[in-house]
Point group: C2
Chain length 213, copies 2
Amino acid sequence: MVLPRAARTQRRTRIQEEKEEQILEAALEVFSANGFRGATVDQIAEVAGMSKPNLLYYFRTKEAMHRSLIDRVLDTWLDPLRAFDAEGNPVAEIRSYIRRKLEMARDFPRESRLFANEVLQGAPHIVDELKGPLKQLVDEKAEVIRSWAKAGKIAKCDPYHLIFAIWSTTQHYADFDVQVRAVLGQENDGEGRFEDAARFLEELFVGGLQVRE
Amino acid sequence: MVLPRAARTQRRTRIQEEKEEQILEAALEVFSANGFRGATVDQIAEVAGMSKPNLLYYFRTKEAMHRSLIDRVLDTWLDPLRAFDAEGNPVAEIRSYIRRKLEMARDFPRESRLFANEVLQGAPHIVDELKGPLKQLVDEKAEVIRSWAKAGKIAKCDPYHLIFAIWSTTQHYADFDVQVRAVLGQENDGEGRFEDAARFLEELFVGGLQVRE
DNA sequence: TGATAATTTGACCGGTTGGTAAACATTACA
DNA sequence: TGTAATGTTTACCAACCGGTCAAATTATCA
């Protein structure tokens, strides 16, 4: 029988497992570098090392690949924010949130760019997720930040814009990597750059959120 | 004669002037929303209100339109940074730089997204400009910031990462607009949001750069 | 081992896309 | 006003793209 993947029963073959992983890896590579429209199925197939019809045997459409990737990324992407602990020390929590986000930008730049591509072009596939689960999570954590400010543990500030600022500054190193490299030059291209960025951002946010008169 | 636009003599017709403007306006709309690959010439022609061959009479290729736009944007985009004055008051200079960048994100979001799309996908058309003119300008201004830090007027910090942080936080409101809107909700959608962002960012950077023991 | 299900491939299809050719229309200007 | 240059349109093309199909190959397991 030649049932499409989605319609098959629970049990997944070893080959299915492997090939789907292979495909998603290739799709991530291609989508993140070219956007949804800019990526071609042939290209993904080539990177995945298989023929196009073979690829389409596992994912019936280009959209299906993309959705599968987006869902996976969206979920793990928010882990650092979920880890934000209301009971912890505010400054330490913010500091570690920044560092974790920055590590993700360093270790998973393709995932960041996949997401950036999507949002930049109006987030046609994920508006609902943004307005639903994402907003809900941010609302919740914003309340935590607000309570810290109220208790005088950090400066009074708009928690939403604080979160946006952390997102944008950290993801910048993945999404605008080419620009960052171009401006900084070849020297200091590896771990040093990451540490410089981490140090700067931590001081910026910790200093900027210090309670002042 | 039917010479292509680029090969014509100096003098440009009134019609050329008008139509090229019309086309670039349409191209900006379409490119910024869909990326280079995602945009189609037909789409641009429709938005510009003319037939595709007519459009291609003014810009011989899709690339030519894109390049023309990118060149224009790249130039005006750096104006705020050029205005950075070594002689001015450091805190005031940084504050006004942030505000100006944020105003650009508000007033020219399409230009910001055009640029973001380009860089996100590896900046294939503008790597040279990034490594050349852009790097040079940033190097120059970084030196100014470093001198301020040395003179004890602001906290010691990596000037490059400071500039990246200002770029990313401000442009975020143009590039990730959909996400920002989704998280903040409909209420407070207009000028208020802009003012909130401006106030937050100014305090963040001014506070973060304050000289401390 | 053999039969059945799962996997892989080459050939192909209809729609879209960037771009062209050439005829037609309009404008500028002597 | 006449005419040459400029501007516009219709019809079209070759390449590409997402996806299908049926036949061939390989894996699974009774």
